[in-house]
């Protein structure tokens, strides 16, 4: 029955993509409406439309325009972009490591990116070069962890699932410990840095949206370019080579694309776990494993998922805002454990 579902859904992939985009649009509008000052859907849509076409906004109350365009829109867009980036990079790392449990958080890449971003904030590059230094620092930290995990899990043949997860946990924990150490040493900045690490999106600006958008476009371009070849890579590196795939180039593009996206997401949104594991896994169950459709689906659904989590984070204990990372961890941990137990039973 599942196979028939995959088969049917594959023939309607364009409609499904359209449905996801509509859902994402609805999620954005709801996200823009919810907050300490509730805004009606009609006024949100109307202001957004006027803003998008460059028309005058004088007819709307200036406070409403300010809340929507200056505060909520960059925040909601950044949440959506971060969800898309984490979910897509999760799908990519799972393909790279041939491991359904790989996710930027589980394999320590997000922790490495967090450490890199933290160093960039504390050591001074952000003061010297501006906000762009954060994703650059995060990228350096993340790519360092990818190589460290690959080296630690290396064995005869291809790395085993448990080796990757264990190496990721060990290296990620080390990166987290160093991050905590730096945070303690940061003095008055500590509270702000802790909120960043827990994935708070309460204070972001348009510059962050621009940088993450560029990172997402670069990462998506790399991953879509190798999406078909990633399918063959799932068989094994050797079989992919025999099917005419340039495995080294494909691996390099996956690592680069996925790590750029993770770094951008973490640099401006802190550590948000489990998005990269829940979304691709659920999509694989429903739509099959073909990366050519999985990657764009993961981007849309990941964005929608994190938007929904952000709305929850803002409304559960309003007016207090719960860090987004806590909400995703509460949803993600049980799902991860369920997947792990099911996998162990099937083996």
């Amino acid at each position: 029955m599942i196979q028939r579902l995959h088969h049917t859904l594959r023939h309607h992939s364009r409609w499904i993509m359209l449905l996801f985009i509509i859902l994402l649009g609805l999620g954005l509008i709801i996200g823009l409406s919810v907050g300490s000052v509730p805004l009606g859907f009609d006024s949100v849509v109307s202001i957004l439309w006027h803003w998008l076409i460059g028309a005058s906004l004088a007819q709307f109350p200036s406070s409403t325009v300010s809340i929507l365009v200056t505060i909520r829109l960059p925040r909601v867009l950044l949440v959506a972009l971060t969800g898309a980036a984490l979910s897509t990079s999760g799908a990519a790392y799972q393909g790279l490591f041939r491991n359904p449990l790989a996710d930027p958080y589980i394999i320590g890449v997000a922790s490495g990116a967090g450490l890199g971003a933290m160093v960039a904030v504390i050591a001074g590059p952000v003061r010297t070069f501006g906000a762009i230094a954060m994703p650059v620092g995060a990228f350096v930290g993340a790519i360092g962890v990818v190589f460290a995990v690959t080296l630690a899990a290396r064995r005869q043949g291809e790395p085993r699932t448990q080796d990757i997860v264990l190496a990721g946990v060990a290296i990620g924990t080390l990166a987290s410990a160093l991050t905590t150490f730096l945070m303690i040493r940061a003095g008055r900045q500590a509270g702000q840095l802790l909120a960043f690490l827990l994935g708070s999106a309460s204070s972001v600006g348009w510059q962050a949206v621009q940088i993450v958008s560029v990172g997402l476009v670069i990462g998506m371009a790399c991953l879509l370019y190798v999406a078909r070849d990633m399918n063959a890579l799932l068989l094994s590196e050797e079989q992919a080579t025999m099917l005419g795939i340039d495995v080294k180039r494909v691996r390099l593009l996956i690592v680069f694309g996925a790590t750029v996206m993770t770094a951008c997401a973490v640099a401006f949104h802190g550590l948000i776990g489990f998005v990269g594991i829940i979304v691709p896994h659920a999509l694989r169950l429903v739509f099959g494993g073909d990366n050519r459709s999985l990657i764009p689906y993961a981007a849309c659904v990941g964005a929608f998922f994190l938007l929904a989590a952000d709305i929850l984070a803002r409304t559960i204990q309003a007016p207090i805002e719960i860090p987004l990372g806590i909400v995703t961890a509460c949803i993600g941990s049980p799902i991860f454990l369920f997947l792990l137990l099911r996998r162990n039973r099937s083996q």
Partner: protein, 286 residues
């Protein structure tokens, strides 16, 4: 005489060990070559070197006069298809998807399969008797069915050389015969089939040319009647065999002798062939 495959004096080295030494082999289009020998003799290493997956430390391997080592991966995939010893099917891919991966090398990254590809995939599925599984998740099939999917994928590559690494390992008798029948049909179309095999009788029945390897060296090669000599086989495999003469073929039928099943001496003798290797090297060889 022009050969499709020309292997000249190759040596394959893992660390300091020569896994294959000074091996030469020539084959024309349409031939069926069986590579036999005990575990760790170098069969899979030889096949992987011919497929261009592992490098030779010396010697050359050419297909249609072009060195395999110098071929880019897509060009190699247009000439050589491989059915590996162990097949793994990823979750979420139908049998048709997996067989369709054979056509990746023939299309740019953005292009979908066309009608020609679909027809080739359909024919490969039909040839391997797996059309009824086409829309099932390949990871849910049994080991034998997955093996047939891997063979179908190799057929769909439409190459001039087909390498089969123990193609009948997971198959029941019916499907062993079916796979070898398919291999024979391919040879009639001019495909050179090279298969590593453990079953001497199947190798004898299928191949026109047998290469017997022992500790990485060619112990004998030639027609089945030349290679399949009882004393030679017993010496290489370090076990006792019973040979049943056949009226329909110039080579005997081999059966394990009763004492080799229960004599610890025979087992120890076989194990001693690997005794010079470290455990890590043994794992690599096996």
């Amino acid at each position: 005489m022009t050969y499709l495959l020309d292997v000249q004096d190759i040596t394959i080295t893992f660390g300091k060990k020569h896994v294959v030494s000074d091996l030469s082999l020539q084959a024309k289009a349409g031939a069926f070559i069986a590579v036999i020998g005990p575990n760790g003799a170098g069969k899979s290493s030889l096949l992987r070197a011919i497929a261009g997956v592992i490098p030779c430390s010396s010697g050359t391997i050419t297909i249609e006069g072009v060195s395999v080592a110098d071929m880019p991966a897509p060009q190699r995939a247009n000439r050589i298809a491989v059915v590996p010893q162990q097949t793994y099917m990823p979750f979420g891919f139908s049998v048709r998807d997996v067989v369709g991966m054979a056509r990746y090398a023939f299309r740019p990254w953005y292009a979908a399969q066309d009608e020609n590809d679909e027809a080739i995939i359909d024919a490969a599925l039909q040839e391997c008797e797996i059309t009824q599984f086409a829309d099932l998740d390949a990871s849910h099939l049994s080991g034998g069915e997955q093996q047939r999917v891997a063979v179908a994928r190799a057929i769909a590559q439409q190459t001039k050389v087909l390498i089969l690494d123990e193609p009948t390992a997971h198959l029941d008798l019916h499907h062993q015969a079916a796979i070898l029948r398919i291999a024979h049909t391919l040879t009639k179309r001019g495909v050179l089939v090279i298969a590593a095999m453990h079953d001497l009788n199947l190798a004898a029945a299928s191949a026109q040319h047998i290469v017997l390897l022992n500790n990485g060296r060619v112990a004998a090669q030639g027609s089945p009647s030349v290679v399949l000599q009882q004393s030679l086989i017993e010496e290489v495999y370090r076990t006792s065999l019973v040979c049943i003469p056949r009226s329909d073929a110039p080579f005997p039928h081999f059966v394990l002798a009763h004492q080799s099943l229960f004599s610890t001496q025979a087992v120890h003798a076989t194990d001693s062939s690997l005794s010079s290797y470290t455990p890590r090297e043994k794992e690599k060889l096996e």
